[in-house]
């Protein structure tokens, strides 16, 4: 009797597993296997330019990773890029979201148009900013000159710092809309009555924002920070197109991910390159965990209460 019921549950479980199998299989085969292979490579002395003899060298690649000045340099650039795009980007996104959260005419169309930058493929994004910041024919110079802000053309893409800033700008431009809409959705998830209560309680705009709005969009805020951190650490396409595949000028845009690319594909140092990539992955996870800790976790207590 109980056996029959048991059987029913088992049938159910088996059906569930059946549904899950294809997806898991595809993911494991096409991502799991290469992932394992890459980790394997990262423990090898595997430089294609030195021939096809590879040997296991333990953690040597990872040790090099820690001491390599090029990595330090790239990490510095990555930190600069990430901090601005993540913290600045999310902060800006919240501001714009608050702006767009007001009721005004054409709000819907504005929100829709906001998605334009998000939809622009990264490669196109690179080309676009090149057109704009080209030192001799770009519109940026034309506009700035006609406004009298500069007198001679600025060579935006020849100065490492300027190029990095343009990269920051380009990436922010592209990702901001998504973050904005995310924040907008979060803001709309805050019950309006909380604002009313705050108004009655005598909170001014500043207090309302810090004490009511912000704590109440914590979850989405954390998601935005995690996602944006992942993207920022892994930025590639825009750098590639914007700098002609070089990460230049003078390595000024060679972030850690781009360095991994150069090491893997330019220098053909697969072992070291894999170690670098694995390092990035760990870094990404660490940062995700960092944000989770900052925000007090996925709040197990609340979950338990919900269940």
């Amino acid at each position: 009797m109980a056996g029959l019921a048991e059987l029913g549950r088992k049938r159910e479980t088996r059906f569930g597993l059946l549904l899950i199998t294809p997806a898991v299989l595809i993911i494991v085969m096409l991502l799991g296997y290469p992932m394992g292979y890459a980790i394997f490579m990262s423990f090898q002395q595997w430089n294609d330019k030195l021939g096809a003899d590879h040997r296991a060298i333990g953690l040597a690649n990872y040790e090099q990773l820690v001491s390599d000045p090029a990595v330090h340099e790239a990490m510095g650039l990555t930190a600069y890029f990430s901090v601005i795009t993540v913290v600045g980007g999310v902060a800006l996104a919240i501001s714009i979201a608050i702006l767009l959260n007001r009721t005004f005419r054409g709000r819907t169309i504005v929100r829709v148009l906001l998605l334009v930058p998000w939809a622009v493929p990264p490669v196109v994004n690179g080309i676009m900013w090149k057109l704009i910041f080209d030192g001799s024919v770009g519109i940026a110079n034309t506009i700035l000159k006609s406004l009298g802000i500069i007198s001679a053309s600025v060579q935006w893409l020849s100065d490492p710092a300027a190029t990095m800033n343009i990269l920051v700008f380009a990436e922010t431009w592209k990702l901001l809309p998504f973050l904005c809409l995310l924040m907008l959705a979060a803001l709309q998830g805050v019950p309006r009555s909380l604002y009313r209560a705050a108004a009655i309680d005598g909170a001014d705009a500043w207090n309302t924002f810090w004490r009511i709005t912000l704590p109440n969009i914590r979850g989405p805020l954390m998601f935005a920070l995690i996602v944006q951190s992942m993207w920022s650490l892994k930025v590639f396409d825009t750098i590639y197109v914007l700098t002609g595949g070089s990460g230049g000028p003078a390595g000024g845009t060679t972030t850690i991910n781009f360095l991994a690319y150069l090491t893997n594909f330019s220098n053909l140092d697969r072992g070291y390159g894999s170690a670098m990539a694995v390092g990035i992955m760990i870094l990404v996870l660490v940062i995700a965990v960092f944000w989770i800790l900052v925000f007090g976790g996925f709040n197990r207590k609340r979950r338990a209460a919900d269940a």
Binding site: L30, L31, I139, D237, G273, V284
Partner: protein, 283 residues
Amino acid sequence: MRESWLSRNLRHHLTAWTCGALVIVVMVIFLAPFVWMIAYSVYPSTALQAGVPDLSLTNITLDSYGQLFSDPMFLGPIVNSVIVGLSTTVMCMAAGAACAYAIARFRFRGRQPLLLSMMTVQAIPVIVLAVPLFILLRSVGLYDQLLGLIVTYTAFILPLVIWMLVSFFEEIPPSLERAARIDGCNRLQIMYKIAFPLAAPGMAATAILAFITSWSDFFLAKVLTSNTAVTLPVKTAAFQGLFAMDYTSAATAGVITAIPVLVLTLVAQKWIIRGLTEGAVKG
């Protein structure tokens, strides 16, 4: 006293005006670059590279579009991109919907870790997988084949698809499925007669997102194709080479690459946002 300084009404109006102005500034910043690229694609570059750009309407020409669309070297990648995009989408939706449905409906052990590991996939830098993937695909004869790209993209996009779909499926009231069981549906029928139609808008948005992601990819396509399976972004990026930086063509290719994505995004924006953010809020 603050309230005597300006009347409440006037203050509200002032705020509204300031915010309106800010919105306009923001929108200009968000839209202008893309508009400028469109301009680049329809004006001869000489008109734009002059000291003061000559934007008279008579200058507009669609020559560069004509040129690209009559170039077999460019048409091929377009067709490839369309095929890859559509097939990836179909595969993602087929495998993803089944998986997401199971995760949303059947309580089995390891359900939560499975979902979390789906998100972890997002942390993997593609670079790390490129070489092993290449070796893998070549060994099964899928290098530079559309099918190779399709399965690779499917694997990369599936986690995102599942992540989104789970939140859509979880939203379907269980009572509907119970009603269907009493009405005589078996499990499969419940899925395709009740769950899928109900999640249709969400599924459409997810599908569009899958399409966009595969359509926009550059790096994998660059590594996993050489000629027959080259996709549009790779071709577009190639417009700046050692001996061929043609700004007009690059801009045109850029616009062509971006347009389908733009259109799809605008169509499904509401659902895309919902799908992504709901996943987010559920964390």
